[in-house]
Symmetry: C2
DNA sequence: TGCGCACACCTTAGATACAACAGCGTGCCG
DNA sequence: CGGCACGCTGTTGTATCTAAGGTGTGCGCA
């Protein structure tokens, strides 16, 4: 634990020039500080770092095999995203999911998505959404739950992106990340939920196709509403 | 526009800091890295660092009188807030305000504020807003434009905060910051605007008092709409 | 004269070293 | 026996140092 410096992580120690430059190293350098960010984020979202846990820069530095400097960077970004809270001289607290947070996330999602659904949808958008929906159906039949969830998220993200508003798009992505912490097992726990999910997507798409803004908003409202119900039940 | 190199040496009007930091005050220390954040943010919002300018860590470190490490931290935060864009090995670009950004900010403001206005307002909220409006009237008569702007912002922020949604509250604050870059001189350039602003606030408050959600939303819509018109005209 | 290559400078990226601070336990003193 | 104070430990905050990357410029060569 207390080994201060990374001893193992030396992929670039290959001193022989030729081998290093040409073929031996398959360019194994995902931007360093990014690794920490990805590591922590994944761990927090995947609940491997549980809420209430206190992370320290040193620990993470060891765990990922870098120094504290990039760790700091990553922690800062994650705090802005609302996953951590940095305490001045104590460490980084993994924020526990609160009822407040769940409510806020869902309310904001609803606000953004309804806004997106209210706008008239062009043919390109409709085609894109239709394809995503098809894909989701296939994956659901194949039983690939993880992929289903991915496409589900993509469906919504596409809708939001269609507003052309970068602020909302970025915000929405963050919301989905935070929501990930709340309901990872939702789909898994309720297999029937997948069919309902797809059906609701279909309703949204149909309303958009028909150019009926009110219906689209209503469909989104129902859809997010049912997600909220699931999350409420999933609070621990 | 195309000036490639940063000519940012001059704007260090805050050079008085160093004298303050060293000896003048014995036990006074505003959180260190925060100073850089405040410095840069203020400079960017106040347009002393103009859009398109390329800041370097070293310059800022010198300017504020700290090392590059806290500068890095500040720059990172500011990038997330959308004021800067960090280019991998070049520096921090002060993002120029674009038409796209103006549109996005106003659209998002509108979305959030309308949402807030739609909710029924309790007596406490109404009282608070009424007091702010009064204060604004007084300040306007006294001719204190800066304070008027401050209270104006507070009025809206209070309304948004009344939703109890922390995500929206934080978002809204950021939006107002970004808007600051776009229309600092708006109020000053159009003195008659102040009266209109106060009148529009009054409309919002009245609608909330009456519990008429639709009217409140409409009033907010008009208000933000007129702000948008001003900003459009203020684009340079 | 024009093109290309190489070097030099300026930048960030990351690592490490150092200082200050907070919390806490223990031991001393009343 | 209780309270206070001191010091120890673990943490972040900051500074400095080294490596690597990129860009522009200038020189050499065709």
């Amino acid at each position: 634990m207390s080994s201060p410096r990374a001893t193992a992580a030396a992929p670039t120690t290959a001193s022989t020039i030729d081998s290093a430059t040409v073929s031996a190293t398959p360019d194994k350098r995902p931007p360093a500080a990014e690794r920490v960010y990805a590591h922590v984020k994944e761990a927090v979202l995947g609940r491997r770092y549980e809420g209430g846990m206190l992370l320290t820069e040193g620990e993470l530095a060891d765990a990922v095999g870098v120094s504290r400097t990039p760790v700091r960077e990553a922690l800062l970004r994650l705090e802005v995203e609302g996953l951590l809270r940095l305490y001045p001289k104590k460490g980084a607290l993994v924020l526990p999911v609160s009822v407040q947070e769940i409510g806020d996330v869902v309310e904001t999602r609803l606000l953004v998505e309804e806004h997106a659904a209210r706008r008239p949808a062009g043919p390109a958008l409709i085609a894109e959404l239709a394809e995503l929906l098809d894909r989701q159906r296939e994956l659901a039949e194949a039983g690939d739950l993880a992929q289903v969830a991915r496409v589900d998220r993509c469906f919504h993200a596409t809708l939001v992106r269609s507003t052309g508003n970068e602020i909302l798009t970025r915000l929405y992505d963050q919301l989905r990340d935070r929501q990930l912490r709340m309901g990872v097992a939702v789909m898994h726990a309720h297999p029937g939920r997948i069919a309902q999910n797809i059906a609701e997507h279909g309703e949204i798409l149909d309303a958009l196709r028909a150019g009926d803004a009110d219906a689209a908003v209503a469909a989104v409202h129902r859809h997010v509403g049912s997600v909220r119900a699931l999350l409420r039940g999933d609070v621990r």
